[in-house]
Amino acid sequence: MIAVLLILVPLIGGLALFTVKNEGNAKSIALFASIAVLVVSLLGLTVMNTPGDLNCDLSWLPMLNSRFHVGLDGMGQLLCLLTAISFPLIFVSAWRNTYKDANRFYALMLLSQAGLMGVFLAMDALLFYFFWELALIPVYFLSSTWGGEKRIAATFKFFIYTFVGSLIMLVGIIYIYFQAQQSFDLKAWYDLKLDRNTQSWLFWLLFTAFAIKMPVWPFHTWQPDVYEQSATAVTMVLSGIMVKMGVFAVIRWLAPVLPDGFFDWGDTVSLLCLTGMIYASLIAIRQDDLKRLIAYSSIAHIGLMCLAIFASDKSGLQGTMMQMFSHGVNIIGLWIVADVIENKYGTRKLSQLGGLAQKDPALAILLVIIALANIALPLTNGFVGEFMMFNGIFSSGVTKYGVLDAAVALICIILAAVYTLNMIKKIFYGDSNALTQSGTATPFPVLASLSVIVVLIFITGVYPKPMLQLTNDTVDSILKYMKTSI
């Protein structure tokens, strides 16, 4: 029930919005729908959390033995919550923004939410693939319609790139389907034991798609361009939630299904992740464009999550889940700030900004907190996730290089501090210049959504226990299939 509602509410809301003509109404309806989703999600977390409420298994494609099976486990709850929280935040923060054809904009946003929910909820591989692709289409339209000058080309590259990955994944899914006695059921896939060689190459069929989506170095080059060119609200969806699809998919659809392949390629992928982390962090240091800087920082963060997953350690996995949520919330906060700055001053160039802390102390404080959460300062949400991930990587039982991996990855923490502080310095500190002199105070909706984010940062940062408990069972069951000691 809950699971279906999570998909249906945004879907219906989105479709209905296409018919709304008035822009103001569109905005309100979108916000209302997204809050409704949030309510449903919270209901699922609190009162209606029996398996009967959370799962829904309907006949769908009897000829293919595929069912409309959606359900929420701990990880699903977490990511659905993230998705549910993000959209109201995005809508509120963009309240003062005016979009051409606002009804279409908000409609597509809600549709993308429906698609994302579907990805996180699907318990059937075909259904998963279905939503995986579907989530992409609204985002494609969103990024191509609203945004910078080069948006069309950048989005197109992104689309084709991820489409390639998805299709290769489809081949893998079909192959496994036949191996699993023509079943798409998640459970059947988990119980499937393929021989090591098969797993080894199947791994790449699936992982390519996930790697492109995350993105893992060197599949990342679509990302900075798209983030830079898309409208910022869309970028929030992309980087806040959509990239989590890749991480999520690795945990749910790759690691337990192909454990041997997963282990065999673990070191290789870890190497890619590490390279990517260092690489992206270093590049982030010299970015002058705020959006590109955040984009590269996102690559580094995602690399860490991927690395932690491949450590196949309980701590690492739980940390990854925690971090998926935290990173989603934090990076949305960063994008909100980027959006505000761009709207206000018409530039994203760090070199042209400066001294905003005088003009806009509230924004400065909020950004500093979010940025610090992003670099995992203790008592913020980022710390819990990263601490656990690093611990997982460090004590990983599946690789000989755990300590080395952790040490190298920790270097990125330093580099993250370098570019994040640089960013803060260049935007907020120093004396204001001719451009920033004209600055006005940040509108209330933006501050409100940023404040919510800050509150989330501290709540989850100081008392992460509920979240850890939420994902505990999921992690245990996944690890069981990964055959490592818990």
């Binding site: 279905f130 692709e133 689309f159």
Partner: protein, 457 residues
Amino acid sequence: MNAIIFSAIWGVLMMFSGIFIKVKAVIRNLAIAGVAILLLLNVAELNNIVLFHINVRDMLVFDSFGLLFNSVAFAATLIYLLLSAKDIDEVGVNQAEYFALIFFVLCGVSIASSFNTLLMLFLGIEIISIPLYILTGSDKRNLKSNEASLKYFLLGSFSTGIMLMGIALIYGASGSFAVANMSKIIDGFVPVMMAGLLLLLISMSFKVSAAPFHFWTPDVYDGAPTVFTSFMATIVKAAVFVAFLRLFDAAYGPSLYQWRLTIAFIIAATLFIGNITAVFQQSVKRMLAYSSIAQAGFMFFALFGYNEIAKEGIILYAAAYSLATIGIFAILIKMKDYTFDGYNGLAKRQPLLAAANTVFLLSLAGIPATAGFFAKYYMLLAAIKNGAYLWLVIFAVLCAAVSAYYYFRVIQAMYFKEGDGQVKEVSPTFKIILALLAGVIILLGLFPQILLVHLYF
């Protein structure tokens, strides 16, 4: 049998209607009614209501597969006529004859989907081809149409020659034209059989425009009046594929393993050439011609996989591909400029057209929730089920990604580019049908079984 006889009769009727009826709309509606009745009769036969009991001496066999395909083809034709019948009027003065020819083609389609001997296959293919040569050349003053018609005719006859040579060799090796007997090969005649089958394969590949026998396709599709290109590229092509699959059933199936390499080569070449060449096209019409080659490459997987899934898949593919392409062509006909730029800014002026077109294009690209996804999906399923040649499947999906490139160029033009591509007058009926068509495609994309379930009765 209902369909074969009725379509022939109605074709004659249409032929004479041109003499007796002077109002174009009446003729048009007569044709639409004819197809509707044809569809009904065929569905009736699918439910075992047969009007004509004729002893066909095993030359034709009416099974659910063929009949279901006929239904799809007729339904597609119905939609095609509903959308584009007016445009047929505008091609030339011989409106009634064009409709008559379309009915004859449908007769050929019904034969091709139910043949049981090579003779009927040959006749069916020829009955399909000859009217098409004419329809291609129907815009007589247009040199492009002339050229297309000539090329189509010469190359088509050439492939007929190859087919006949193949049939002759098959006959020599098995002593019969019945497809059922094709596996009974006389001692020492295996190479003869194989050569015959290969020649037959080549000529059929030609008809479905598979590389390297596809060369006629872009030129003919481009040169023919757009409204007929639409018909040729969809219903007819699908029919030939169905015939091809039937042929495989008897002839290639038993010795399938011997053909896989050859078919793999054809698939790879078709996908590669179709998709890659389509990328650079500037005219949407010509792009669609190449895209039809590329789609043929995917349909070929049904032959490659050759199993029950393939049968389901080819029906679904036929439906998905035909419906979507008909829709795209119907919109293309309304455009004043056939280049990609001609679509610029369409979403502003004709949001419904643009939205429907998007659905069709997404379906062709194989995006989920459109029929095209399950069509491609079934093809991959059919191919992977056999386990071998996974590289080919990967290659195919990479090509599918390339296909997204050129399909999305149209979407980009419609939605994201500024421009004033002009559109001809479109009637509300046209829009409604277009919307319905888009709805059908999405419905099939969510629940393909509503079509496929009819295969099993």
